[in-house]
């Protein structure tokens, strides 16, 4: 999974501090595998591995900190 990180004006943010985790929010637990984040340039960050350990509702939560900016996003998945 690759995410593009931009500031509010749409400028890609390079060398940001990006962390991510996969979790089942309604069950209150995360995936057993931590997600590694690789900066591939131009504001893009590759998240790997993302393992959904069982069927159900999952979220990939991405948190970003860069310079004086902080933000993030949540990606929803329904795993069959």
């Amino acid at each position: 999974m690759t995410v593009l990180v931009e500031d509010e004006s749409g400028v890609p943010l390079e060398r940001a501090n990006v962390t991510a985790r996969a979790e089942m929010p309604l069950h209150g637990h995360a995936s057993s595998e931590a997600i590694s984040v690789t900066d591939v340039g131009a504001g893009e960050y590759e998240l790997y591995p993302i393992t959904f350990t069982m069927p159900g509702h999952w979220q990939v939560v991405v948190e970003v900190a860069a310079r004086d900016l902080a933000g993030g996003g949540t990606f929803e998945y329904e795993v069959e």
Partner: protein, 304 residues
């Protein structure tokens, strides 16, 4: 042996005195809930093995979603002990060991470990026949300890080595039992209040919602009560998960299932135990919970 004889004599005297209650003291001891000691027993230990196959899960809307490219099988070995420390009271401990096999697509993962240990006490507030118009009543107080590995600490690819929930769970409830000759009906109703925990991965304060676990077991003894068969239904409800003190919308859980149990007195001290149970896999009968079909076999030894 002498104590056994005395106990049996007491039982017979009781039967003669109260015709409508044949052998309630003995028939249902191993059926439903925590179980209890027969009147002549000082303690009992049991060892059981069960296997449960994952059938699917209920989603947040209560719709049942059968597993398609995913399988889950749980092998549970449980050692249990009941120790009487008062004429009306016993302490119990259940120590489970869990082996989980999961596969999803090309991935397969097997994990094992000690699961969450249960400890508690059971007090027989009203015994059978003690008051003519009221059923036998027992109070149960228990505590589940987070001795298993919670999902955040699991390391297997499919988290098969997760064997617990990671929270201390005090629980309390009642057992009401009606008996007539060899027939019995028992209601178990337990409330659970999980204590707050800190998630290992995020550091967030998390608390599983309070819940209710109830079951109704009805059965009868056959072959002079050496064989006891029963059927049961159970309902588990858990209210919303709280994260950092706030309830998480849509996170409450519900499971409804049925089961059958059997016990056969093999010898003076030994009882063979068997059971089968399944969640009722229909839309609306569960929520945010897995559904399983399982069978189990065990033996119980009574000390007297």
């Amino acid at each position: 042996m002498k104590r056994f004889a005395v106990a049996v004599a007491c039982c017979f005297a009781f039967l003669l005195a109260r015709e409508t209650v044949a052998s309630p003291c003995c028939v249902s001891a191993t059926h439903g809930g925590v179980g209890r000691l027969a009147p002549w027993e000082d303690a009992a230990v049991s060892l059981s093995q069960s296997v449960a196959e994952g059938l699917g899960r209920w989603d947040t809307d209560g719709d049942f979603q059968p597993y398609t490219d995913f399988s889950e099988r749980e092998w549970r070995t449980s050692a249990a002990a009941l120790v009487g420390f008062h004429r009306r009271a016993l302490a119990y401990a259940i120590v489970p060991w869990l082996v989980t096999e999961r596969s999803s697509g090309d991935l397969a993962d097997t994990g094992a470990g000690l699961a969450d240990v249960e400890l508690g006490v059971r007090y027989q507030w009203l015994d059978f026949g003690e008051t003519p118009s009221f059923p036998a009543l027992a109070l149960v107080l228990g505590l589940t300890a987070p001795t298993g590995r919670d999902p955040s600490a699991a390391r297997g690819t499919l988290a098969s080595d997760a064997t617990g929930r990671g929270a201390w769970v005090p629980e309390g409830g009642i057992q009401l039992e009606l008996a007539r000759r060899s027939w019995f009906v028992r209601l178990n109703a337990m409330g659970t209040v999980p204590l707050p925990m800190t998630r290992g991965d995020t550091g967030e304060a998390q608390r599983f919602g309070p819940g209710v676990a109830s079951s109704v077991v009805g059965g009868s003894g056959f072959l002079r009560d050496r064989l006891v068969l029963s059927a049961s239904t159970r309902l588990r409800i858990e209210s919303s998960l709280h994260v950092e003190g706030r309830p998480l919308p849509g996170s409450s859980q519900r499971r409804l299932g049925v089961g059958v149990q059997g016990s056969l007195a093999l010898a003076e001290h030994w009882t063979l135990l068997a059971n089968g149970e399944t969640d009722l896999v229909a839309d609306g009968l569960g929520r945010n919970a897995p559904a399983q079909l399982g069978v189990g076999l065990g033996v119980r030894y009574g000390f007297f």
